[in-house]
């Protein structure tokens, strides 16, 4: 069963409030791992490459919180 990403926050890849505030983060799900980056999708289906240095290792299905293109937390692990 997949969690509704919005329980981890309402931001999306194109709407994340005032980024300098810093207390905003976008919940995304990992689709594909590409080295130190991962192709991720937000709750609206928008995709972006995200740096995963601070949450490595990640796997497809993991839920990450992203700030400025960098994942700052992994909040859910997919089947691991």
């Amino acid at each position: 069963m997949m969690t509704d990403l919005s329980i981890y926050g309402s931001c999306t890849l194109d709407q994340d409030g005032c980024v300098t505030c810093g207390d905003t983060a976008i919940p995304v799900r990992v689709l594909e791992v590409r080295g130190q980056e991962a192709l991720c999708e937000d709750r609206l289906g928008q995709r972006a490459l995200i740096a995963t240095d601070f949450v490595a290792p990640v796997a497809p299905g993991d839920v990450l919180l992203v700030h400025l293109g960098v994942a700052i937390a992994r909040v859910e692990e997919a089947g691991r």
């Binding site: 509704d4 329980i7 005032c18 980024v19 505030c21 207390d23 601070f54 919180l65 909040v75």
Partner: protein
Amino acid sequence: MRYVDEFRDPKLIRALADEIARLADPGRHYRVMEVCGGHTHAIYRHGIKSLLPENIDLIHGPGCPVCVLPMGRVDDGLSLTQYPDVIFTAFGDMMRVPGTHGSPIEYKARGADVRMVYSPLDALKLAQENPDRHVVFFAIGFETTAPSTALTIMRAKALGIRNFSVFCNHVLIVPAIRAILDSPDMRLDAFIGPGHVSTVIGCRPYLFIARNYRKPIVISGFEPVDLLQSMVMILRQLAEGRAEVENQYSRVVPWDGNRAALKAMADVFELRPYFEWRGLGFISQSALKISEAYAEWDAERRFEIPGVRVTDPKAAQCGEVLKGVLKPHQCKLFGRECTPEHPIGALMVSSEGACAAYYHYIHRAAAVAD
């Protein structure tokens, strides 16, 4: 499957509001500060204030880095646009922030090479694409933002990219809370702690608030149920005479934070002995500069920085609002000389600032009520 509806469930919200009304002692006045601008907005957007008894006051804290950045730092950063080879980059939210001689977007209109980037990593990419130019990134933000700057600088070093540097204005939330607690006119009872900042720093850095100042702090999420649940937790602590750090947002915030991000920050940055905050003055060890090991990527070492000091207008009472002594609309300039279109004080500058949020959502209602 878990849906966000469970955090917006009207029945649960009503039950929590009833619990708050039961816990709040009618003979007591409660002053609770939400530290972060994101919470300020969530409180207004969801109408949380209307669900609380009248003797619970929510005080909006210093959680907006744009608002607390002194104008002199904006001037110092923009001074770098005088060098013809420099490409000055900043977040979109910085572009309208006024310096003495205009905002970054106004400098751009006058011909400076000012570009908006979404992430510091984009600024680094710009440096790779423009090897004959020097890209400066104007870094700003709390502990949520600082890891991305740290990662960018580490990548610049690893990739040997030397036409890139960072003008660092990262600030730390904990020293700001401490400064507010040490202020002689401080009258707060408890804190709602920041959500995403805490994903990085964890809950431990707040322990001094409970231990040394005997104030409860509850790290909170941003949905209505989160905020009301946090208020219940705060009132229970106060009713039972406890002062603890509690984590309401455990679905996101780990107790220890993100160790890899903290390690990167510790490697790339070091504490400044002191840093000026608009509205709060100089606070010791409250901001970051780039460490010796990464000096080559420090714009303040690479360029001559004028070190501009700009005093805020005396009539603006930002400090009192930040410390919770005044409500935004009780400032003499609020809504008259100082508006989101023409901000004078720190808290009106960014949309996340307490005064801007207040202006946007409720200032008319408040003015009528007074």
